[in-house]
Symmetry: C2
Subunit: 281 residues, 2 copies
């Protein structure tokens, strides 16, 4: 195989020249491949969709974690649903203030393959505060008695194993197990191409019914379809811009490569066409 | 031809399925093609690079025009260099306050082909305030005695006919023919892939030597390489955020599809990795 091609739509292809096909596995849930490429370094795919690459994984993982952490620096207990590559956990472990991180990933094979072949994101998984549970996120949030200050839904697209993580039942249970000042962050698809845009609308319609604060923010992620990627910020209490503690990230002693205080506020400034789509069902 | 493919890098391809190859011309300056596609509508290319498509041309053209116009609503005389598709002129003609728009495009064939086959952007070209001059922009700014309040450099990449529009001589002459509160806006390439990132740095190093205010802002343009595209804002007087007249766009009576007051400020919030690259030579 010389090139990996992802169909961003049936009529738009994104193709990456491959240096080496490193690993392939049919897991109980999905097809996993790891490649090395000339321009993006190593990357892995699930069911043919690029999940993360060495060149720009920092953008997604910084934006999904530092945004909520800078709104409520008192977050102690965190639940990560999905996120098998470990990148979200890695960013969370930069905060000494966090006490407990539960990561619920349905597919253990993803974690094990990343620990062997995509180590850039897995460095936080051995942190003593982290507990990995290899089970269905939908069932976990339904059954758990735990309470969390922050839930990160670091899911695949709503097809295959990720589907339940876009359901009303799932969001309702997230709401139930969040503390009174809890924050729910989810990967929120994209506004540009039709398929992701539909999923963006469906997710937002559900979340905004449940949470008094339901905002959407964006980042430039060039290797996801259209490069315009969204996250959802839902909360029982905090507004992500009004309640932003802009000095907090600087107390970390960690130099972010994408996120900064202007990005935080700027990422909630959506284009008019995206605002319009989010209003419609 | 079933697919149009643009090489975003030697190792990354962006491909669009074609419905119809509408027009082809070898102009005195470049190779021009017009296509119809399934997902982006009509689009045209110069030397194999996509310039504009019906689906998202509004993003580029709104961001290159409404940003400076909302900083100095008293702009009367405007020079557009390049911009043969007419999209920048179209946005300028929405302002009754503008008196004169000179468009200097080296390649008349681009304008004529767009007027026939890509009419979404050409509607402003027949406005009586517009004068089209088909000549070299580099020579024009060197020789003109005119003074402008705003110069829009709506150029191709700095290869072929666009090369001179990234030179120190060009920027110096733009500085000379700008009024004391003049603003220079240029398409400023992209921070992500190596080639555009180098050009971004080269342009910024030159402009910041000449102008007391030299900022860079960004937009999500999914069909340009990486989808993360930049514009330069240089001025003798105005800071684009401090001097932003946020209510002005609303007096237009025109509903923008991308630009709004939060986007204006948010677009100047650059990621850390972009800020770092702009600092280096």
């Amino acid at each position: 195989m010389d090139w990996f091609t992802e169909k961003w739509t049936p009529n738009i292809n994104f193709s990456v020249k491959i240096k080496e096909h490193i690993y392939s596995e049919t897991t109980p849930f999905q097809q996993l491949e790891v490649y090395d490429s000339f321009d993006l370094g190593r990357f892995f795919t699930l069911d043919g969709i690029m999940m993360a690459n060495e060149k720009d994984e920092f953008i997604y993982h910084e934006m999904i974690i530092h945004t909520p952490m800078s709104v409520n620096p008192n977050i102690k207990n965190v639940l990560v649903i999905g996120g098998g590559d470990g990148g979200s956990v890695r960013e969370l472990t930069r905060y000494p203030s966090i006490i407990k991180i539960d990561m619920v990933e349905i597919d253990e094979s993803v974690v094990r393959a990343c620990q062997k072949y995509f180590q850039v994101t897995t460095t936080g998984l051995t942190d003593p505060r982290v507990t990995m549970k290899f089970e269905d996120g939908l069932a976990f949030v339904k059954n758990t008695k735990n309470v969390y200050d922050l839930i990160i839904v670091d899911s695949t697209d709503p097809i295959g194993p990720g589907e339940g993580l876009f359901s009303m039942e799932f969001y309702q249970n997230c709401h139930r197990i969040l503390s009174d000042d809890g924050i729910l962050i989810n990967q929120h698809e994209s506004p540009y191409f039709d398929k992701e845009s539909q999923e963006m609308k469906r997710a937002h319609q559900k979340i905004k019914v449940l949470f008094p604060v339901a905002k959407v923010y964006q980042a430039f992620i060039p290797t996801y379809p259209s490069g315009h990627w969204l996250f959802g910020f839902a909360s029982k209490k905090y507004d992500p811009v009004v309640d932003f503690k802009e000095a907090f990230i600087e107390t970390l002693g960690y130099k972010t490569k994408y996120y900064n205080k202007n990005i935080h506020t700027g990422s909630f400034a959506l284009p008019n066409y995206v605002i319009e789509k989010l209003k419609k069902i």
